[in-house]
């Protein structure tokens, strides 16, 4: 009987301690995504607003005529608002297939037959999306703070606006967590990454449209909690010490964001299993 090679050997080498498999999943996922040139182009494009703002900062620091371009605390809030567009596209590009593709290929029970828990699997998948989203939100915003200090030649701005460091971190974290958990939850519900992408976009646009419709009908913006994006905006205003844009208590908006994140985690915990039992 032709067996091509009988050279199977027992393995006596090292094995990693338990609990590190999520890093393997994250590494493989990141490698797979950065191997796509179109995605690299998207990531570079996502840094275009950073370049524009950096030029503004350079001009305001070096030319009196451009002093009106000098950054304020609000500048960073606006910058992160702008990056919301890239958060949306990166979330769909990276996140839609993260679990859906595994479900399509019946890979979940392969993963979960290895020494890793479903929490580790989710953490590994989440880390992939988290990293890229941080790369288009927190990283350029912090980069801008640094650029400002370099062009101004002092840390005076940062000292006077010390709240910006935690504000940028907190708001970026809220942006990233909301996008990553909700996308992963949707991805765990389907076997088609395209359908997941459409679902995510539909959810974002539909809830925003619903809020705007209610706003038009009732004349008040207290229904902003219906839209995850608008809830996040309201939370962002509070974090950056700005006048809230909607007639909604920031705490309610924060609760809405938290509920979406927690709900997504619950969905993930229920959907990521080694076997689906239909009773």
């Amino acid at each position: 009987m032709p067996i091509h090679d009988q050279g199977y050997r027992r393995y006596g080498g090292e094995r990693a301690p338990l609990g590190r498999a999520w890093q393997v999943i994250a590494r493989a996922g990141i490698r797979s995504i950065v191997s796509k040139r179109a995605f690299i182009a998207l990531m570079l494009f996502a840094w275009a607003p950073f370049l524009v703002r950096a030029v503004q900062m350079y001009a305001s620091a070096n030319f009196q005529q451009a002093a009106f371009l000098a950054p304020k605390g609000e500048t960073f809030r606006q910058f992160l608002d702008q990056q919301g567009v890239f958060v949306f596209f990166v979330t769909i590009w990276v996140g839609a297939g993260l679990i859906a593709n595994d479900r399509r290929a019946n890979a979940l029970h392969l993963y979960l037959s290895k020494p890793l828990t479903s929490a580790e699997y989710i953490a590994g998948k989440m880390a992939i999306l988290f990293l890229f989203l941080v790369f288009v939100t927190w990283a350029p915003a912090m980069g801008l703070l640094l650029v400002q200090a370099i062009f101004a030649g002092s840390f005076t701005f940062i000292r006077n606006n010390a709240y910006l460091l935690p504000a940028i971190t907190l708001f970026s974290l809220a942006q990233v967590l909301l996008a990553a958990t909700s996308m992963l939850a949707l991805s765990s519900l389907s076997r088609s990454s395209r359908f997941v992408g459409v679902m995510y976009a539909g959810l974002m646009f539909f809830t925003a449209a619903l809020f705007q419709a209610l706003r038009g009908i009732t004349g008040t913006s207290r229904f902003a909690w219906l839209s995850p994006g608008d809830s996040l905006e309201q939370v962002g205003d509070a974090i950056f010490r700005l006048q809230p844009r909607y007639d909604l208590a920031p705490s309610i908006a924060a609760i809405a964001v938290f509920v979406i994140i927690a709900g997504s985690v619950v969905i993930l915990a229920r959907r990521v299993k080694g076997v689906e039992i239909v009773t």
Binding site: H4, Q6, R10, A107
Partner: protein, 349 residues
Amino acid sequence: MTAMTGEAFPGPDADVGASCGADSVVQCDDLSVRYGRNWALRDVTTTFRKGAVGLLGPNGAGKSTLIKTLLGFVTPDKGRLRVLGFDVSRSPLEIRSRIGYMPETDSHIPGMNAVSFVAYCGELAGLPPADAMQRAHEVLYYVGLGEARYRNLETYSTGMKQRIKLAQAIVHDPDLLFLDEPTNGMDPKGRDEMLVLIRDLAHNKNVNLILSSHLLPDVEYTCDHVVVVDKGVIAASGPIQALKGTRGRVYELRIKGDQAQFIEVLRREGLDCHDTDEDVIRVFVPTPLDDPAPPLPPAQSGAHGSALGPDSGARQLFQLAARERVQVRHLRPSVPTLEDVFARAVGEA
């Protein structure tokens, strides 16, 4: 390669010795699993010995549920399970680091070629990246995919997908291998090669394995022991040779007349029998306790019926045929097969 680190893999539970014998790899105690209102497994108490054990049963008998419970995918409603000395409910990760699982369904990780996939599975199982890659190449050659290892998995045929599933299950050198219907969808040549691989793993590479299959010849070729599950309970278990060698004789019988009716008559007389695809009835006639003649060894009781003289089993069958006015066209002693064991165990017609 250096020696395996001790801290990463704590030893089995202290009380293992008492409940999981040194020659067993899996111990089920009073195990029950329920899906909704249906019991998939009911009060199952059995032991899977070291070596190659076949898990047999008709469709829906509970084989896959048992494997999924052993893997920790399904939480039992009742009972205790030990795999390699570890309690499944308390140490699932330690168990999974030492087992390999080849699922029944077509499974892969999308967007990878074979060598990346197998190395990735090795890394997930705890192997360092360099070792995982080296072993990925080795096991891919071992399972016969050496030449196709850089092809994307989505382009693989069904047989190749079965092999790649085996490769990912053995890349980290498990102590125990769960194989769920490993020859499903394979052509005869590929099936034979897969069975040779499985047999080689069990008998030459000292990998313990549990082979779940409804294909009796596969189990008979690769395994030494068998556990037969039917309707969620253990119908039979033990070494295949011992089960086949139950005191009695197997006859192949062909008649002229109503075969189904005659089978009913045989069963009413307390004889185990089942028909085959070739209009042949296989009848197991137990040797009476006062019959001094010992059961014939397989070498003598094979297809060479001419070596046998008349015996009480044959006489009994002829008498029954005469009584029922059925003409016997063919009667010869046969070798007991796993099919007979299976048929007796599950009472399958």
